[in-house]
Amino acid sequence: MIQHYFLIIISTVLVNNIVLVKILGLCPFMGVSKKLETSISMSAATAFVLTIGSMTSWAINHYLLEPNDLVYLRTLSFIVVIAGVVQFTEMLMEKNFPLLYQLLGIFLPLITTNCAVLGIPLLNAQSSHTLLESALFGFGGGIGFSVVLILFASLRERLEGAEIPGPFKGTAIALVTASIMSLAFMGFAGLDR
């Protein structure tokens, strides 16, 4: 049984990495990876919201939508719920952990519109996970996102000092780097399932 849960985490972190394999949540991946410091905060916030979001969406799905035969409302209700959860976390954090809140700055509300955050609960619902499975799936996705984002931010910080040919400067070279990283992550395929 433990093996099963362990596999869920390994699979979400490496094999089915949301960013590089599922190609979800690309906007924060490109947008918040300019500095290592902010990318660490962003990944922590995303991992947190993903875990909590998966759990609440599981509850909505399990207790509200499925009994009432309203599965087609999933996308809509998940967006609403996740937005609410993010808002709530933001307020909670601002009050209780002002330092962390300052560090995350505008990234917290940005997470609301992150497709990875919506994608994971939807995938959860599709594969009819249990509560624990959903939580682990969300958490693993968050860790996968963090690993990739932090790696990528460190690379980009280095690129800042590199002599890049003019037309490649900025986003272009970042996209090239991302695609090479994506290729590298494809190597994990076959580890599981």
Binding site: E157, R158, E160, G161, A162, E163
Partner: protein, 507 residues
């Protein structure tokens, strides 16, 4: 000459020494020049305060500019004569920018002001340091830090070891070598004085093993004293104070700490000799030994009065032999190109090298960094020069600071070994001065913010006070009105009473 237990530091390089040429002849005294130009900024710290005015007659050894505050040093007239002017002149500084100097016209009589030897054994330490701050002595190894500050120790810092730096590791420079050969006695006595003032238990002289004659002379002079002489292998930069401490004692001075915090003080040989001359004979710091070498006809060491134009020294050394006329101040590793030869000799000038295409060929073309990390192997302070280069080159200054840019001693070992011929140290110097400038402007912005906030608060307060005053005035006016009303009613009542009384009387 045996090598004792020494602790080898990482890295370091061994460039061609080129020291023999300038040690063939003994130290000569350079004639007094017609005019001497004495910069007010010859030391680290505050600029000296001028004590003379144009037209004044001064004697040799008279203070012409006084130390301003603690971290500062006095400047003395190197010979007798008349003050010509106080003006901006070009200094021997990489910037080539002018700064304030006192120009002295020599009268060639060379009359000393009354010399006052100091009975240093008898007077109290604080007083002794006070006197030393009048001596104008600064670190003659090149750092030019006021010496009296280094002799001052507080209760928290007790010095257990005094290290005398005789390593002189840079190629070409031989001024300390020659001084040791000819005036070993002064050095040993000066060391003992410094040891006594500091209250140090031990005094160790660290000397590189390429200076055999100097070693023998020192050994002879130190025979019946407690001064230890330790020979260290010839390896650049063993003359860096912190490297020398490591070599001799195996103690690494941690980041952001000074050797004094660990109970170790370091002096250059020339500095202790100057201390000896000041205390024993009352002669302040007015001259130093300068090596003139390189492409000049007769490389030699000269005892030169401060303020002597460099061109005089070059003439004495047989003049320059090639057309280019490029001169380097300091050694080839850490020195810089002099902006002109019309600069004065200062307290920091230990060596002048005439550059020539044979000695210093034009640098090979710069190639990209291939991250071979040879520089990291050569770095004596265990930094990662390739990373520092990466960040300095792209002006990622905060990153460079994170990678301990400010621990770099700019020794040039990385540049020396770089197979791509990248002028690494130039990048570090750029990054350092840029960071310092940024910090300064940040500080200025902070004071401006404070001053603005204070002003706004003051305006607010004044407004409130004015409003209060107005209110009070208005209140006062009302009171007066009320009083008038009262008075008139009283008067009216009195009137009525009077009328009544009169009517009563009438009735």
């Amino acid at each position: 000459m045996q090598l004792k237990n020494i602790f080898k530091f990482n890295g370091g390089v061994h460039p061609d020494e080129n020291k023999i040429a300038s040690t063939r002849l003994p130290i000569a005294k350079l004639a007094i020049p017609k005019k001497l130009v004495l910069p007010l900024r010859q030391h680290v710290g505050h600029v000296a305060k001028v004590k003379v005015k144009p037209g004044d007659q001064v004697f040799k050894g008279q203070i012409i500019a006084e130390a301003d505050g603690n971290i500062s040093a006095a400047i003395h007239a190197p010979t007798s004569g008349r003050i010509l002017k106080i003006s901006e002149e070009i200094l021997p500084h990489p910037s080539g920018l002018p700064d304030f100097c006192i120009t002295l016209e020599a009268d060639f009589k060379d009359t000393w002001i009354e010399k006052k030897p100091i009975p240093w054994k008898k007077i109290e330490k604080t007083q002794l340091i006070e006197t030393l701050s009048q001596s104008g002595i600064v670190g003659l190894g090149g750092a030019v830090f006021p010496t009296h500050m280094k002799l001052k120790t507080n209760q928290k810092q007790t010095i257990h070891t005094l290290v005398i730096n005789a390593a002189e590791c840079e190629p070409f420079i031989t001024c300390d070598d020659m001084l040791m050969r000819e005036r070993a006695d002064e050095i040993i006595r000066g060391s003992l004085i410094a040891q006594t003032i500091l209250g140090a238990e031990k005094c160790v002289i660290g000397i590189e093993d390429n200076k055999i004659e100097a070693y023998e002379a020192l050994k002879k002079a130190a025979q019946k004293t407690t001064v230890e002489i330790t020979v260290v292998p010839t390896l650049y930069p063993s003359g860096d104070a912190k490297r020398l401490i490591y070599l001799l004692m195996g103690i690494e001075v941690p980041k952001e700490k000074r050797s004094v915090d660990l109970g170790i003080q370091v002096f250059n040989v020339a500095t202790v000799a100057a201390i000896y001359r000041y205390l024993e004979f009352g002669e302040p710091s007015i001259s130093r030994i300068v090596t003139i070498t390189g492409a000049v006809k007769t490389p030699q060491n000269y005892e030169v009065l401060f303020g002597t134009p460099l061109s005089e020294l070059i003439k004495a050394a047989g003049g320059s032999s090639n057309k280019q006329k490029k001169f380097i101040m300091g050694g080839p590793m850490m020195g810089f190109d002099l902006p002109s030869i019309d600069v004065p000799v200062t307290k920091a000038m230990n060596c002048v090298i005439e550059s020539s295409p044979e000695l210093f060929p034009t640098p090979k073309p710069v190639m990209p960094c291939i991250r071979c990390a040879r520089c990291a192997d050569a770095c004596p302070v265990n930094l990662q020069p390739q990373e520092l280069y990466w960040f300095s080159k792209s002006s990622q200054l905060e990153k460079a600071r994170e990678y301990n840019l400010f621990d770099c001693i700019e020794c040039g070992c990385c540049t020396y070994v770089c197979p791509s011929n990248i002028p690494l140290v130039q990048f570090y110097r750029y990054a350092k001065s840029e960071i310092i400038a940024q910090d300064k402007s940040k500080e200025a912005a902070n004071t401006a913010r404070e001053r603005n906030e204070f002003r706004l608060a003051r305006l607010e307060r004044e407004k409130k006070e004015r409003a209060e005053r107005h209110a009070q005035k208005a209140l006062g006016a009302q009171d007066k009105q009320a009083e008038d009303d009262k008075k008139s009613t009283i008067a009216a009542a009195m009137e009525r009473v009077k009328q009544n009384q009169q009517e009563n009387i009438k009735n």
